[in-house]
Every structure is written in C-alpha cells, then in structure tokens.
Symmetry: T
Subunit: 145 residues, 12 copies
C-alpha cells in the first residue's frame, strides 16, 4: 500500500518555527516516525514551497498507484482554489492534517479552502496529527473495498 | 484510564438521519465498537439533547477522575458560548469529533465555537472519527506526563 | 389523527406579554380553541422553556403515532441549529407558526433557522396562525396519501 | 365580500416551471379552485409581469370596494421597495403567499421586502397557500369589525 | 423655458400616505403651486408607477426641448440601475427631490442609486423640496450659459 | 432558424451614451450587422425599457418557435430576480452579452443576477459581443441535437 | 424587600476559571458577601447551566413577590433571544452584571443580547459588580415609587 | 430674523481646494452673496476647524435668539456623533448643505451622520446650496408659525 | 482622595435633551449630588465639547495626584481612538458611565471604543450611574492597595 | 498572426474532471481543434500549474511577436493579483475564457480578479469558449489597426 | 529649508506609554535628534491633542514658507476625514510616520484615512521613522525641482 | 554586511509599467543605485515571479550569513499567507517597500498580509523607497547589537 505525504510551504523548517505553537520535531523525524509506526506501508514524501509543485504531485498520484494522501497545505490551506480543484480530480482517500488547532488561532485560519475537497481534517495534535492522518487514510481505503 | 464520551443533540438517533451524510451505524454500536477496540479503557457515555446537561457533565469530569474527553457537540458546535466556557474550565485532554467533514458542508458549519477550547478536532471519518478521537486523547494524556 | 402542538420559551405566558404585538389570548385558550375547531382530531400539547425538552418531544413524535406537528419555536426560531437538525429527522408534516409577522419586526427575527426544516411557515395572524397551521398540516397529511 | 388575488411575474406559467419545486397546477386551476372553495366570495384575479401594473392594481383596490388582498409577488418579493410603499397606502387586510417555503431555498429568498407591509405571510403549501391566504384574509376582515 | 417634473411610484397618492411623514398636500396641488410660483416657466408633469415609463420620459426629454428635470423617484431611488443609466444619457440640469429627509429614515433609504447621476439632491422639505428643486434647476441652466 | 435578440433599458440610445465606454454604433446598425453576418437566420429584435415587456418576450419565446436567445439586459442585469425566474422557464439556448467588460467597471456591475440562468455570458467586445453571442447560440443549438 | 440573584452557566465554578480574568472568589462567597452587605434584604440565589431553568426562574419572579433581579447570564449573554424575551415579560427592576469588562475582551462579547431588555448593565468590577448591581436595583425600586 | 451659518473644517480655504469639484468662490464671497440676496436677514457666520467650537456654536444658538441654522459640516459630516447629539438639542430649523453632490463621490461620503438630526439636506449646487439652504430655513420658520 | 469627573460633549445641557431618555437633572445638580453623597472626597469636575480638552484633562490627571476617574464620554464613546489611547496611558482606576442603557439603543451605540481602556462600564441608571461610578472607583482604589 | 493560448492549473487534466460540469474533451483535442478551425494562425500553447510560469509566459509575450492572448486561468482567476498586474503590462488583445458559466456556480467564482485586466470575458460554452475567444482576439486585433 | 513636524494626540507623552510597543525615547529627544541629524534644516515642531489645531497648522503651512511636512497623526490616523481633506489642500511634500508597524497591530489600525492624502508612509522603526521621514521629504522636495 | 533585496512578480519589468504610477527607472538601475549609495554593503538581488522561489530565498537567508532583508512583494503583498509564514521564521531585520503609496490606491491594496511579519513598511517614494529601506535595515541591525 502506497501513501503520499504532502507538506506545503515552510514545513521543511518544522522544529525551527514558533516552538510554542508547533513543537520541536523536524520533518525528517516525522517521516522517520511514520515509517517506524507503519513498516508495512510504502511512503512517498513531498515537501515544496511551490503551489504548482504540490498540484503536480497531486496530479501524478492519479496514475502512480498511490492509494491515499495525507497533506498539510500550510499557508495554502486558506487561499488556494487551485489546490482545491486539483483535489477534486483525485478520488483516492485524502486527509488534511494540521499541527496546531486551526479553530483556536487567527480567525482567517479557521476556514479551510482545501479542506472542502478532502475526505476529512485532523487538526491540533502536533506530529501525532500525521499518524492519525495515516490511520484515517487506511481506514478509508479499507472502507472503500 | 477513564474516558468520557459526550454526544450532543440528535446523536441518539444516529443511523436514522440522512444516511447519505451520516451512515447507518447507531450510537450504541459506536459505544460497543469503542469498548471492543480499547478493552483496557473505562468509558463513560453521555448523550443529551440538553445543552445544560452537557455542561453539567463537563463540570463533573473535573472531579470524577476522568482522564480525557471525546465530544461530538452536534448542533451546539456552531453556537454555544456556554459549552465553550465550560471547556475552558477543564484542563484534561479534550478532542472534538464530527462524523461528516464540517469543511465540506454549509458555510455556517465550518466555524466551530466549541473547537476553540478543545485540544484538537477530527472531522469527516464517520464512526472512525470517534476511534481516532480516543487515540488522540490517549496520545495527549501520555504527552502530558 | 394525532397532532402535536409545540410551543417554545415564554409562550406559556401568552396573553401577558406586549399585548400590542401578541394580543390577550392565553395558551390554554388557544388549546381549547383548537379542540373546539377540530373535534375529530386528537391533540397533544407541549410547552417548554427548555430547548432540550422540545427536541425530546420532536424525537418522541417519530414513534408515537403522531401524524403532524404545529410548532411555534419562540426565541429559538432564529438561533437553534439543534432543533433544525431534530426536524430533519422527522418526516411527518410539520408547520411553523408565529403570532406576529416576523417580516415586520427586528431584522434578526426575519431569518428562521428552524423554518428551513419545516414544510411551511405561517406568520402574523395571532391565534389564527395556529388554526391555519393545523389546517395546513391536515392538507399535507392528505396530500401525502 | 370582494377579494383581490394578485400574482406577480412568471406566475402565469405556473405548472410549467421547475415542477419539483412548484408542482403542476396552473394559475387558472388555482383561480377555479378558490371559486369552488369559497362560492360566497367575489374574486378579482390580476396577474402581471409588470411591477407598475401590480402597483396600479393595489392603488385601485383602495377605492373599488375591495375587502382584502391575497398576493404572491414572485420575484418582486425580495427587491421591490415600490410595491412595499404601495402596500403601506392600503389598509385593508393583505396576506402574502408563496408556493414554496422561502425559508428553505436560496438565502436571498428568505428576506421579504414586501412582507414587511403585509399583515402576514403564508409560505410553503403549494396551491393550498392561496386557500389558507383567503381564509386568513377573511379572518382579518372579521377581526376588524 | 421648459421643465420636466417626474414623479415615481405612489406619488400620485400623495396626501393620503403616512401623513406624519409626507404631509397632506396632493400631487395636483404641488403642480398647481409650481405653476403659480413660476408663471414664466412651462411645466410638463409625468407621474408613473412604471419604471419603464419613467425611463421613456427621460429619454424623450433629450429631444423635446426640455431645459431641466426635477424628479422624485420614490421607491426606485434606492434600487434602479436602469434609471441611473438613463440619467447618464441626459446632460441637461437634473435635480432629485424628496419630501422626507432620507438621511433620517430607514438605513436603506439613505443611499440613492439614482442620485449618483443627478446634479444634486434636495431632501426633507415636503412640497417645498419641489420649489427649491425648480430653483436649483434654473440656477444650473443659467450657470451653464 | 429563429433567434430572438433582446435589449434592455437605454440600449435604444446606443451610440449616444458615454462613447468612450460604449462606442458609436447604434442599435439599428447592430441589427443590420447581424442580418448581414447571418443571412440564413431569422431574427426577431425586441428592445424595451420595461422589465415586464422583456419578461413577456421571454415567455412568448417558449411557444413561438424561437430557437435561441441573445440578450443584453442593461441595468436589469444586476438586480432583476423576475427576469432570472423567467429565464429558468425557458430551456432553449440563451446567451447574455455586454458591450463593455463588466469585470472592469464598478464593483456592483460584476455580479450578474440574470447570468445565473443563462447558458453563458460574453462581455467586453462592443458590437462584436452580439455577433459572438449569435455564434454561441448556434453552437449550443447544434450541440443539443 | 426580595432580590433574585441569577447566575448563568459555569458561574458555579467561579474562583476556579481563568483566575487572571475572573479572580478567586467563589459564588458561595459572593452570596455570603451580599447577605452581609445588605442584611435588611431577602435574597434568592439561583444558578443554572440550563437556559430553560433560568427562564423558568424569571417567569416565577413575576408572581413570587420578587422586587428586583440581578443577573449574570454568562455565556448566554451574547446569544439568548429566549432569555431576552423572558425579560421583556418582567417589569420589575433588573440589572445585568459581569465580572470582567465585556468591552475589553473578544469582539463577540461586547454585544449583549440580554442587556437590551435590562434596565442597565454593570461590567468589569469582579465581585463588586454584584454589590453595585444590588444597589442599582434598590435605586430603581425606590425611583419607581 | 437671525440665521446662523456654520462652516466646518477646511471651508475657510474654499476657492483654493480641488477647483474641479468645489469651484473658485471663497467663503467671504459666499457670505457677501448671502447678505446681498437676503438684505432683510441678520447673519452670523462661524467657521471652525475645531469640532468642539462648532458644538459650542450650536449650543449658544439655543439661547441667542437665533431663528435657523444653515450648516456645512465638511469632513465631520460622515463621522461626528457629537455634532449629531448637539443638533438633537436644538429645535429651530436646521438645514445641511454641501457644495458637491455627496451621492456622486466616494461611498463613505454618501452617509451623513449629522444629516439624521437636520430637517433636510441640500447637496450638489456649489455656492447656490447655501442660498437654497437659507430659503429652506426661512420656509421652515414660516411653516412653524 | 481626589476623583476627576469628566463629561463629554453636550452633557453641559443635561436636563434639556430628550427628557424621556435622559431625565431632567442638570449637570450642576449631579455635581452637587456627588459632593453630598461623598463629603469625604475631593472632586474635580471637567466638562468639554472638545475632544482635545478631554485628552488634556486625562493627561493632567497623571501628575496631579488624582486617585480615580469617572467619565461619561458622550458621543465620543463610539468613535474616539485618541481618547482610548490617552486612557491607556493612565493607570489609576477609571470607570465609564452612561445615563441611558447603551445596549438598548441604536446599534452603533452598543460598541464602546473608549470602554476597552476603562476598568469597567456602568450604563442605564441615569444620575445614579455617576454615584455607582464613584463607588466603583473607590472600590478599585482600595483593591489596588 | 501569432496567438498565445494559456491554460492555468488542472486544465491539463481536462476531460477527466467533473464531466457533468466540464465535458469530456481533452486539452490536446482543444488545441487540435483550434488549429483546424484557424489554419492561417500560428498558435503557441502553454499550460502550467505554476502561477509564476504563467506570469513568465505573459511577460515573454511582450517581446516575442505575439499578437493576442486567449487565457483560461482556472483557479487563479479568483485570487491572483500577480497575474492581474502582469496583464496590465501587456497591451495586445487578451481574452479570458471559461468552460463553465462562472455566474452559475459558487459565489466566489463569479468575481474575476484577472478579468479586470482583460479586454473581455467569455464564459460557459465548453470548448467553444476557446473558439469564440480566438475570434474575439482576432476582432480586437483588426479593430486596433 | 523649513520642515514642519506634526505630532497628534498623546505623542507628547512618548516614552511613557506601553514601552514594549513604543520605546522609551521622549518627543523632546526626537526633536533634538532631528536637529542634530540635519543641522542645515529649520524645524518647526507642533504637537497637539486637538484635531482642529492640527488642521490649523496644516493650513498655515500653505503660506508660511514651509517646504515639507512629517506627521504622526496618532489616533486620528484611522478616523479623521477632516485632516485628510486639509492634506488635500496642501501640495508640498508630506510624509506620514508611525513608531510601531501599523500592519502588525489591531486590524483597525492598518487602514490609514490620512495616509490616502500623503505622498508616502513610513511605519515601524520607532524614532528612526522620523529621521527616515525627514529624508523622504527632502528627497521629494529635490525630485520636485 | 550582507543585505538581501527581494523583488516579487512583475518588478523585473519596472520602468515599463504604468509610468504615471511607477516611474521610468528599471530594476537594474535600482540595483546599481543601491550599490553606489552603499558601497560598503554586499547586496544579493533576487527577483522572481514565483511565490515558491521567494519563500526559498527567505529560507536560505536564515543560514547564508544574511544580515537584513529589503523586500517588495508586488502582487503577493495582499494575499500570500505562505510568505507571511516564511517571514515569521526569519528573525533578522526585514523591511517591506513599495514604489507607490498603497494607502492611496485600490482599497484591497491597503492591507498588507506580508507586512504583519515585517519590522516595518515604507511606501510611496518610488526608487527612494529602496534606499530608505536599506537605511532602515541598517538602523535595525545596529539597534539589535
């Protein structure tokens, strides 16, 4: 089973940004943690600060045998109609995750433009959001069958 | 370890409401499912159509040895300042869950008044939202220690 | 044929509130009037200042052989998502009534959150709104057959 | 007793428009139905796609011995300040009716500009809205005496 | 010198509407009053409840030797883009008048869609608004030369 | 093949209004131009400053063997719910055209109330908007077959 | 003289919530403090997390010989139309109090839906708000005579 | 008869500001012009850039035998609640004037906070607005008697 | 102990303005009343229609041995950022008072820009608001020690 | 004559996305179709999911002998100020096209940020929108000469 | 060369207000610092808490040989239309400065009403904002020649 | 000392865009000018139409020995949450500059999303904005030490 884990702008610097809000774990550690938690899964990790590359990755997932997507769109979450449209084209299970609780921050972070086109959203559990996201994707894959 | 599972108005009729959106599983089945999944945990289940009873239950959890809360506030999610204030008084791990993806429905369902005072929110995975919610609470309890 | 007549907060004091707007008839007189108008019908009257009790009553109507609902939600009309959701679970004919014309009062009284989930709304005819409401419910019951 | 029944734009095509929302009865059938229901009443029927003609009809009702008005303003309901002002000049009983439930459709259809100047509004019962409207007008006429 | 005096919907009933707000003078009396005040002027009076007829009258004024326009658009003041566009096509002096002070009434009456395309607006002086309007038009005609 | 070309308020004065925005071609010239471009088509041209007459024309098109509609609603574009409703009753191809680019003018001109019920909108090409509109209608007619 | 002191949701936990904002005094201490300050008065204390019970208490005050009301509606302050309507039915002096200054907190806390139907509002003085509230009620009672 | 003519901020520089909008006449010339037009009237002219001085002048007019007020509040028109409140205390005829048409400029200039408390508003006629304003005040004085 | 009592625009005319709303007591009587109520206190009374003078008075209070401020900002309450900023510079107890209940009037009067920077607000008790305001200030002074 | 045809994010997947809305034609087929329709023209086709690449393409068009632009900005239509600014720098004819009618979809799709800087917009005709777009560009080129 | 440095309300207390935001330098020190930095310039310093005095100062600058203006409008920045209008009358270089970054504070501080009529705005550099402001004015003076 | 000068979309075409607003100087000339003004500084110049490349450049600045940033984000200023978040990760002095005064243009250009995360903003001085920006950065660097 192959899971694509997408990370949007600035998440490559995880562990170095506003530690009170985001914690100290790095993206590499998250990736390692996911591999350890789910050794039976094959992961593909993509991080980009470029909206276009994230869309490209979503489009590629349509034909590359990917079974599910876990994505943290970072700052694009609240503004990108283009990512939203790309998600509509992708019918495999797709789960949005956020490190911090988007309902407890600035008002503009509560609305998720991309989330409209995901199956579900998990927000507020730090690194664990990714682990829960992978579980949720697996659950959706099984439910589909 | 004791987990309080709170369900707001109309969730007692789960499995009978708009099945395309909410599925066919009943609340009793969810409760049974949680017990099966996590036999080592002690669950307390409260469902009420009364906002006041939900607040009472939250307040009682402060002194009853409860270790965490998983709650689906139903229609109160988007309007209840009183539940929000009760949540601020409760410092144990608390996770909000929704069966359907609140970001993909009517605009007024995207904003969660109660979610501001939760540790995190999990939305869109049907019954599995509760399972993920329990896991998230356990993770938060462990992280606290 | 059994009709449930629901009255929300403060309608128990009818006849004593702002008489220029609401008139001087009491709720007991309305109930008596309905029985006199429609002797062939069986009425159940519920009034409550508690949102939860009104939801309970709606839920009970699903299995108690009730054929239709006439409801005046009072102050909950403009705010209660929970009553709205309870109404969605009830498929028998349901008609909302108001004593005064909600389109001719404060702006916030024009929008009816509960009315979205009713079959129709009758507003502005004092006690007669209830009589017309019962007629409308009867019409909907007949049309269903 | 003389009742003026006013119908606004496109209601002449009733029975041919979006049948899921408006049903299949034609305006002529409604008129016939009203005459049958209330043989003791004298009806005047006016339908027009012209806002000005509807205002003219309202003004004429002031001096033509009309005892009450039942009106479905169609698309003018939500925008016409001019009809609203004409209604303020007419003190006989006047009731607004709608075939579909305006509280359950697009948001802009919930607000009734004309309804502010009516005695009451009946919405959501198809052709029966007209019958209930006539009854309501009769009730208001009697209450006035 | 020829002045066109335009009156919109319901102004034919002047003197009969909400007398506390609009006074008791009739439109015929206003017309007579204007003729008496300004015997040297030739007046054309048009009143209509039809938006289209008012636009027609404005268009005709372009080629009929009219020197100025005084207009009270009534309920169309706040909504008619079409009258606004017709006014832009007419370059002779044009003054909007209102009997009551539109700044002291409902909020939606403060904005004048038509007023954007007039040379000026005079509001709040009852019948005298028309007299001042004619004076203002004469002043604008003289200033143009 | 019969095409109805509808023009709303003030378009009879085309060529005389704000020439920087609308150009110098008259409506008669447009009509002539269309006939020349498409000699095989039968055109019916209706221009009116009256909203009601435009609705009448739309309704007549339902039974007069009209194959398609090209319409420039002028100032009614942004406000008329009644024309919108009339359009919903008409299922033949219908295309909205504008001389100027409505996205590049005042903010309130960007939203098209009528456009919601058209098949498409062409805006910004002066007289050529009509020619393209006729082409688009022909294309839709052919695609329907 | 009998004064009803009403406290809304979560005020039973006073002294335990966000101490920087609300202080450390408990509700029992407030009640004791009021009795000490005003030994000549008879107090009735009601606290509830249930909106319906607060409405019940207001309604009972109409016939129980209560001379005035001091109320802190907690989270219901900003949303409850039903409490607002219950207050309109109660003509004895009624004063709203808040521990913290509602004008200096989140924007949504500045508007008081219930306050519209009170005689006055006192906000920002901690426990002393209650003492001032009782004084204000006494003043209003005396002024009424 | 004594008329107070008030001018708000920057009107002392009239004739020097944006001449396309405001013309080239100075405030002194306006004052002279008014004296010439109405030799039988006694004028008091006050111009100030200080909101407080304008309020002082309005208050003094209550006891100084002033018969009417003509005022151009300049930039305070759209923001000053304090001037609005001072006007409410003054019951003699009071007319607001503007040189340019406030309905044809920036959106925020259309709303007149002060105008709510005036008898009427005259806007768009340059210096002539003052002359018409004096006439309107005289008319109101005579109508009062 | 020295208390500064500040009154904003038009409060010098108290007792003469809209008596149904504000009562008939004059500012001089309020000042006398306060001296009588609290003979042990030293009062400084400042009233001004000038926003700048009120700011000057607030600034002077920082170094003049003033122990507390009671202020009624009148029309500046809802608009003055400058007074708000001056209040932030003053750390002694400061209480805002209003004669009428600002929550029961026009919507724009509910928001208090100045109130954000006060310790508390007392609104709706006529002259008694000042007495309660002084008490509240004394309480805050004592609590500070 | 050289025409640049630009396509924004996700349009490379045309024919595979929400077929009810967008149809089944692919982008390659559109390009082939345009070449067949207009064999005398030289086309350059650019599709990108990267906002920056689309801006680069627009900038290059300034110096590469391009005579006109037809562009479908996809999801960037409603948000990209940067593309808008790039368009302002390009003075050759430029036409925006959309497959579906943007006036008949979600509200946020009606506003076109990019459309403000285009000569015109054609929306709602599927693939034919491109053909009409090319025609419109040719018309604009000819009109320029 | 003569530069006018204007400071609005509360800036006379600089160095004593919210030191985390505004720093500890006093206004006198700023003035001294500017004289030291630019010994070749002649400075005029005006600080006032009175909006009217600031307008007076701007007006005087028109005829007093002033070459440029540096202004910090304090709390008037976000509300004063009157200062905005005074600035429009002054054509010499004028630069607005702020100590703190207005884009990083409360939302209502981001919009600058006065800034619309300045040549530019410099915000966020503490005292250095004034130094940069003087430089910018000098640059604009030189660019004008 | 090393300064990074970032320029967003379309600024590579400086000198060629709307010359009335932006002037005729090119980006290359600005770069040369900065080098001439500050020969002691080492500059790195990056211009990109790609949001992602600008974020990459900001991230690189964290570890490349860069001492400060001067940035003109162009069209991204008003929309990019992603650049805002990247700026929060960068703690060296960072100053936003704009050629034109963003407070004097379209309303949507006044709000700076990126500016919230900068130390300060300089807007309206053409090329000189960059020079002042460099000075401001130097000042911040020195103040840090």
């Amino acid at each position: 089973m192959k899971i694509l884990v997408l990370n949007g702008p600035n998440l490559n610097l995880l562990g170095q940004r506003d530690k009170a809000v985001y914690g100290t774990v790095t993206l590499a550690e998250i990736e390692k943690h996911l591999k350890t938690c789910c050794p039976e899964l094959s992961f593909e990790f993509v991080q980009s600060n470029h909206e276009g590359e994230l869309i490209d990755a979503l489009q590629k997932a349509r034909t590359s045998g990917t079974d599910g997507v876990v994505a943290n769109w970072g700052g694009f979450t609240h503004t990108s109609v283009a990512i939203h449209d790309a998600l509509e084209l992708l019918t495999i299970p797709k789960v949005e995750v956020h490190l911090s609780n988007i309902h407890a921050r600035e008002e503009f972070r509560e609305r998720s433009v991309t989330g409209r086109a995901m199956h579900g959203v998990i927000t507020g559990f730090g690194v664990q959001s990714y682990v829960l996201g992978v579980e949720a994707v697996l659950h959706l894959i099984r439910a589909d069958k």
